[in-house]
């Protein structure tokens, strides 16, 4: 943790505010005519995700927040807890189902994800943009059935259900875009 003044603030820096790390997502130097130098910031609370606007004077000081991205491997989940492990130190980190949120739809054992660590705990993570998952349930495709709709429902190994083209079958591996949750293509049958 380091002390910085408003003049040292930069986009991408995380600072402590009201007990939570806040990421500076936008920063603008403003100075009214004959007035003092001000820094208008857009901050994102890294725990709640909430955005806020603040204006600071050049003399204001801040504590930087120790927030870092760390690549970790997803191990398994048990009840409401998700467990991740650092691939080199073997340190384990636990996250609640609530914090993992909808990303649990795409978490497969052994997958590498980027965890955002703050004071020894994970406050968020980034999934890869695309994941490959196996189909575990879907209706059989009847060849020549041109009357049926363009897509059908399928369930992948994580339990996540989505719409896929009719030719996709149980056992196929498909690519999913984690940002939209949608089917991209069939990787292997």
């Amino acid at each position: 943790m380091a002390t910085v003044s408003a003049g040292d603030l930069r986009k991408g820096l995380a600072i402590e505010m009201e007990g939570a790390p806040h990421l500076i997502v936008a920063l603008e130097f403003v100075k009214p005519g004959k007035g003092q130098a001000l820094y208008r910031c857009k901050l994102k609370n890294l725990i709640t995700g909430q955005l806020s606007d603040r204006t600071y004077r050049s003399g204001d000081t801040f504590q930087t927040a120790e927030v870092r991205d760390t690549e970790m491997q997803y191990l398994y989940h048990h009840a409401d807890s998700y467990y991740f492990m650092h691939p080199e130190t073997y340190d384990q980190i636990e996250m609640s189902a609530e914090d993992v949120g909808e990303a649990s739809n795409f978490l497969k054992e052994g997958m590498l994800v980027t965890l955002l660590l703050y004071e020894g705990r994970a406050i968020g993570f980034n999934l890869p943009n695309f994941v490959e998952l196996e189909i575990t349930e879907t209706d059989k495709w009847v060849k020549g059935d041109t009357a049926s709709s363009d897509t059908k429902t399928a369930v992948v190994e994580t339990g996540y259900a989505l719409q896929v083209p009719p030719f996709v079958e149980v056992g196929d591996i498909i690519k999913i875009d984690t940002r939209t949750g949608k089917y991209v293509e069939r990787v292997k049958r």
């Binding site: 009214p32 005519g33 606007d53 004077r57």
Partner: protein
């Protein structure tokens, strides 16, 4: 002749991308000069390396070889007015330490003009006519497109007092009770974003504590005869009905010097020659306009860098 096969350096293609804006800039400068010459103003030049500058709490000058780089040409322009000129203008560079952002560059182009006047009204009319003249000279149109909106430059523009603007947008009156930090923060975050989006706005009658070098209103000494021009939320120009009382001017400079000392900096010496000229200065009004911001407006640019060939980081 060898053929050029390598890719051009990135800084050259960056410069090339500014070609259109630099052409507009050249036209704006030509039109500003044409406007003031037509109106009978005399163009002057004043030095950039000075023995002192106006002590101002929030303007930090650069020092070079024991001298100061001009933070504005104001003092020398007023000394010339004291020597009997009636209409003067100048386009020059000014320097202010640490002012760096999308609307600031530590070295910038400033237009200042001074005229004999009995109040601020004439100065506001100069601003209205100047912008209209430049806009018409560029494309024959009295309207400009800026930041996704349209601004109609045809006069008269809106006049709004600081009291009216703050009561409407920030819920308090800084003229009745002044608080510097609250004033600055509310001005940039609540008031300015509402000013000048359909027609330009003159914000006038500033709190006496923010008078700077302006005279106080004779019938309302808590307010100063100071005006700021806003177009599409952008602060373009600052104007004063000039303070001519040497005693009061000295007092204001001393207060500013004390504040500079309190903030840990060394204040510039009192500009004694300027102060001694004031009793000879006729009633006059003067304005300072940010030329780079004015060009931004006519180029629909979102930062000063887009309209300057080289900004602070590029030279």
């Amino acid at each position: 002749m060898s053929s050029v096969s390598r890719d051009k350096p990135q800084f050259l293609s960056h410069l090339e991308s500014k070609r259109y804006n630099l052409l507009v800039r050249s036209e704006v400068l030509r039109l500003i000069r044409a406007f003031f010459h037509t109106k009978g103003f005399v163009e002057v030049e004043t030095p950039l390396l000075l023995s002192t500058v106006a002590p101002e709490e929030y303007i930090e000058p650069f020092t070079v070889e024991g001298r100061y780089l001009a933070a504005s040409p104001e003092l020398q322009m007023k000394q010339l007015m004291s020597a009997g000129w009636d209409k003067l203008f100048q386009i020059t560079h000014s320097f202010r330490k640490g002012e760096k952002g999308s609307l600031h560059n530590p070295e910038f182009t400033i237009l200042e003009w001074y005229r004999l006047a009995k109040e601020l009204e004439k100065l506001m009319e100069d601003m209205e006519q100047l912008f209209l003249f430049v806009a018409r000279g560029l494309d024959g149109n009295a309207g400009i497109s800026f930041g996704g909106g349209q601004v109609d430059l045809s006069p008269p523009w809106k006049r709004l007092s600081v009291t009216e603007a703050f009561l409407q947008f920030a819920g308090w009156d800084p003229v009745a009770e002044f608080d510097q930090t609250r004033f600055d923060i509310d001005l940039v975050s609540k008031v300015e974003p509402n000013l000048g989006f359909e027609k330009p706005v003159f914000l006038h009658s500033y709190p006496a504590a923010a008078a700077s070098l302006a005279a106080l209103c004779p019938d309302r000494p808590e307010a100063a005869m100071r005006v700021e021009l806003y177009i599409a939320g952008l602060e373009l120009a600052n104007g004063f009905f000039e303070l001519r009382d040497p005693v009061e001017q000295r007092e204001r400079f001393e207060i500013a010097r004390e504040r500079i000392r309190e903030s840990g900096r060394t204040p510039p010496p009192l500009p004694e020659v300027f102060i001694s000229c004031l009793e000879y200065m006729p009633p006059c009004a003067g304005a300072a306009l940010g030329v780079d911001r004015m060009v931004m407006l006519f180029c629909n640019a979102s930062s000063m860098n887009e309209v300057m060939a080289f900004n602070w980081e590029e030279c």
